[in-house]
Amino acid sequence: MNKDEQPKYSFLLFVASGEANSLLAEQNLRRLIDDHLAGHSDLQVIDVFQEVDSAINHNILVTPCLIVRRPLPQVMLVGNLSDKKQVLTALRLSAGGPSEP
């Protein structure tokens, strides 16, 4: 990866810490990043109770909630990200084997 470039993938994951679905979402996302996007993404995990203003600004009504900031257009995914196929579709990665980022 070229150090001057921003990573191609940028994620904001809103969680309610301590809730099972939120833990699961974070695990699922980190695994997916390791498997498919290693070195090409940045991830920020935000607790809706700790950073309420951020939750308000992004209108986070349900948790967990993933905002894919890049690549554009921005996409919102709700749920614990166990539906891997849906996640890969949202990232515009094929659901099959790993593809080049």
Binding site: N21, V52, M76
Partner: protein
């Protein structure tokens, strides 16, 4: 000490200050609990919730209005059109209007819950130290679950958390079809459930409110018509009418010598009077004579004309020597002319009450209550009169109602058998008598509570220069 048992202690309530609503709720909405408002499109759910928060904010009780559907600016505009200065309250920090649209476009990738919403709401409420919360159209958010069972579980869980926090919550939920309640489980979760609905019958729309349940409290059990007036919701429940009479000796005359003598000087101030007679018998003329006589420099009269416009009425009175022009010009006589068909009964009633509150008249004349029959059933006319009189009494407003009845002597006496006559304090009847040569007008006092009155038929006629009433024994020679 109280007559109630220990189990009947009343829960804490918040008076809504919405006219009539607190009477129906026996004091107000439950504090620290959840109330659900369920109604179809156009029933005013959002308005009722907004008016509640607005009136509380004015009293220093802070509230957050969260709309999951309508945009905040649209809500502000609607509120401002009702005269609610929400911009000022928001600037002061006693009210916050928030738009939180449901994330329709979001992709679903596994299970989720409503904790985000809880965090956001807490954030908003903490910011302005609010204890009151409105969740408008919460159903559009929970529809995200796409499954009734999940919807129920998550909403239940979410609302339980709000309840644990001791917030006073007002939920609005859409009813998709009249009478069909979409979220029965919400009714179980709510401490108070209010149903709004609107029906159109014979081209007249009526909105009705009904309290389905109220845990730990009494409430009035019936359906009550309500009106969305230009300043908010108004309910005028008939059941709360108090029959407290007061004794008065002040009299208001007609400035018609013989007629005033028949009434021992005039009608009792603050009483309700029925002026009944067939078409053409002179009801309007007598009512106008009364209006004119009651107009004094510091006394106003409100004349509600369902039959003719202000200009026509003034012209007709001028032709019989009862010019109203000066009292209209001075503002002492306010003529409110309206077509009965232009509105439903409730709307008319609210309009009249609004005028009463702004003008503070000494007398109210409604010409003619029989026209209200064109707006609804006889029962609704009775209900209109009962509630109008009930609003006049505490304000000590003398209320004269004209009523069109059949033209014969027998019919005139039957007036006393109608519902209306039993509601009023005094009853003056006009009628025609046919002596096979010409038709003569007659007037008599059928009843007058709290006063002596003449029991004789009198003749009366309308001339170019006014009304004259005479005892029958001394019919004036001019009356040929």
């Amino acid at each position: 000490m109280s007559s109630d048992g220990p189990g009947n202690r009343q829960i804490e309530k918040i008076a809504t200050e919405i006219r009539g609503f607190d009477e129906i709720l026996c004091g107000g909405l439950p504090a620290g609990r959840m109330t659900m408002i369920n109604g179809g499109a156009g029933t005013g759910k959002t308005l009722l919730a907004m008016e509640f928060l607005y009136r509380q904010a004015q009293k220093g009780r802070h509230g957050v209005f969260v709309s999951f559907e309508e945009r905040a600016d649209d809500l502000r505009l609607n509120a401002q059109s009702m005269g609610y200065d929400v911009a000022r309250l928001e600037a002061e920090g006693s009210l916050a209007i928030v738009h939180a649209p449901a994330p329709y476009q979001a992709l679903k990738a596994g299970d989720f819950n409503l904790t985000g919403m809880l965090a956001i709401l807490e954030g908003h409420m903490r910011r302005i130290k609010a204890k009151l919360l409105v969740l408008d159209a919460i159903d559009v958010v929970t529809q995200l679950f796409g499954d009734e069972e999940l919807e129920r579980i998550h909403l239940q869980d979410f609302l339980a958390k709000l309840r644990d926090r001791g917030l006073t919550v007002l939920l609005t939920v859409k009813a998709l079809a009249p009478g069909v309640r979409e979220y029965p489980f919400l009714e179980f979760l709510s401490d108070c459930v209010i149903l709004l609905d609107q029906r159109v019958k014979e081209q007249i729309r009526t909105r009705r409110l009904h309290v389905l349940k109220y845990r730990g409290s009494n409430f009035l059990p019936n359906e009550y018509p309500y009106v969305i007036a230009n300043h908010g919701m108004v309910m005028l429940p008939i059941s709360t009418v108090k029959l407290d009479e007061h004794v008065t000796t002040e009299r208001i005359g007609f400035d018609i010598e013989t007629l005033d003598a028949m009434l021992q000087g005039g009608l009792l101030a603050g009483s309700g009077i029925l002026l009944s007679g067939p078409s053409g018998s002179g009801k309007t003329t007598i009512a106008c004579a009364f209006a004119r006589a009651a107009c004094k420099p510091d006394h106003k009269v409100l004349y509600v004309s369902f039959e003719q416009g202000e200009a026509d009425l003034c012209q007709a009175m001028r032709s019989c020597g009862l010019s109203l022009d000066d009292v209209v010009a001075s503002g002492n006589l306010h003529i409110h002319s309206t077509m009965p068909e232009s509105n439903g009964i409730e709307e008319h009633l609210v309009q009249i009450l609004d005028l009463m509150d702004s003008l503070h008249p000494r007398c109210l004349i409604v010409d003619a209550v029989s026209a209200i029959g064109r707006m609804g059933s006889p029962e609704r006319v009775t209900s209109f009169i009962v509630r109008l009189l009930a609003q006049c009494r505490p304000r000590r407003i003398t209320c004269m109602l004209t009523d069109q009845r059949g033209g014969t002597e027998a019919n005139a006496l039957q007036v006393s058998a109608t519902n209306v006559a039993s509601l009023v304090d005094a009853c003056i009847c006009l009628l025609f008598v046919d002596d096979r040569q010409h038709i003569q007008r007659r007037i008599f006092i059928l009843k007058m509570r709290g006063s002596k009155h003449s029991h004789y038929y009198h003749s009366f006629d309308i001339y170019d220069d006014g009304i004259r009433v005479n005892r029958l024994e001394s019919v004036s020679p001019s009356e040929t």
